[in-house]
Symmetry: C2
Subunit: 232 residues, 2 copies
């Protein structure tokens, strides 16, 4: 695996940024990106750690990251996976608090670092941008609430089914039908919020029931309807 440290130029970043922030005027986005640092990260690197004071937020130009908290005995609780076009770290900047999550790359990634000064300036000076950021924060908030109920009340199997469907719709599938998001059993179990062994057992249950196919990390959902029903 040669590390083909491809670094896009700033205009590429801006045009990708516009896909997420559709209704923000061009000059506002440009202003936001004046002090941006574009950086390449190899798979497995940490962007920042829970508890650290970050002085800016990150826009993911390409690649996959996991956003997680570290709990009892170092066990990770994955909050979500981030994909290209996602922005993260803004919570700590806006609240001026230490980061409440860690972020680690799951593939080679290119990230745009946006310093807090730029971010805060745009929030208070670009209504369009403030509005979009609010949308994102509120969406995450809704997801989090939803997630709290699930994790508190549903069985692990139901949560697994739900998360498989979520991954399929969020990250899509390859031509052969397998999930594009390619992660270890451990990461998957840390997302579902269960022990790795339990996750593996439940995966093979689903396999036996004909709802999925799974060899290694190639997971294919065979019956979305039944999975959906299982998830409720």
């Amino acid at each position: 695996m040669k590390e083909e440290a491809f670094i896009p130029d700033i205009t590429e970043c801006i045009s990708k940024f516009k896909l997420t922030f559709k209704d923000v005027p061009d000059q506002d986005i440009k202003a936001l990106f004046t002090d941006t640092v574009i950086k390449f990260y190899k798979k497995g690197e940490y962007i920042y750690n829970e508890g650290s004071r970050i002085k800016g937020c990150y826009f993911l130009f390409s690649g996959i990251v996991k956003i997680f908290q570290t709990g009892i005995a170092g066990k990770e609780q994955i909050i979500r996976f981030g994909k290209e076009g996602d922005i993260f770290g803004f919570r700590s900047v806006i609240r001026n608090e230490p980061a409440c999550t860690s972020v680690e790359t799951l593939s080679d990634c290119v990230l745009c670092y946006i310093p807090n000064t730029s971010l805060m300036h745009m929030i208070t000076h670009s209504p369009g941008f403030a509005y979009e950021m609010m949308q994102i924060a509120c969406e995450e908030l809704g997801d989090a609430n939803h997630y709290i109920r699930d994790i508190a009340q549903k069985s692990v199997k139901a949560r697994l089914a739900e998360i498989l469907l979520l991954i399929a719709s969020d990250f899509g599938v390859e031509e052969d039908g397998t999930l594009k998001l390619n992660i270890t059993r451990e990461d998957l179990s840390n997302f579902v919020g269960t022990a790795t062994e339990t996750l593996i057992r439940l995966l093979s249950d689903l396999k036996n029931e004909g709802l999925i196919e799974a060899k290694g990390r190639k997971i294919k959902l065979l019956d979305h309807d039944k999975l959906k029903r299982l998830a409720d």
Copy 2:
């Protein structure tokens, strides 16, 4: 219990609102409140229901509410309790989505209804207000993330200890040291995310261990340090 339907006038609402939204210019707040409806709710009433389309958000002038989701078999998962000065319902308005929670009063309450038009107008026209709303959304987001980890990884007892401390610091205690927030065992269990019977057992465990006193709804925390340690 006479229903003393005390309704404050709008200037009282505004001055209480200013305590939460310190850095918003007076005229902006006034503008936000032009179409406000001030309303009295008796204990046990619903402000809105999960899934309903609400056309505005609510500012709690006085009283206590519970904000919850309804899950499997009608079991509630309480996301948080709201107290005077809190604002809720804005997520659905901003996202223009159905409400993802229900809100029910736990005491007599006075609420200010702020129509979506006013809210959205202020978000896009008052940078100060947008900033404060962002702060609130991000704070809730941080709490939610924290909560997800806890519920996924900690034992019920640890969560109970943590929540007792949270309630003490959020709602305070009476002169005799008992928690001000006065709720049923069922609500408490729905907040912790466990069965009512389990919650009751654990409460008496804590009582036997000398960490709390509890007769009926009067709960007093005796040893904050040990509770804190238990919560980790």
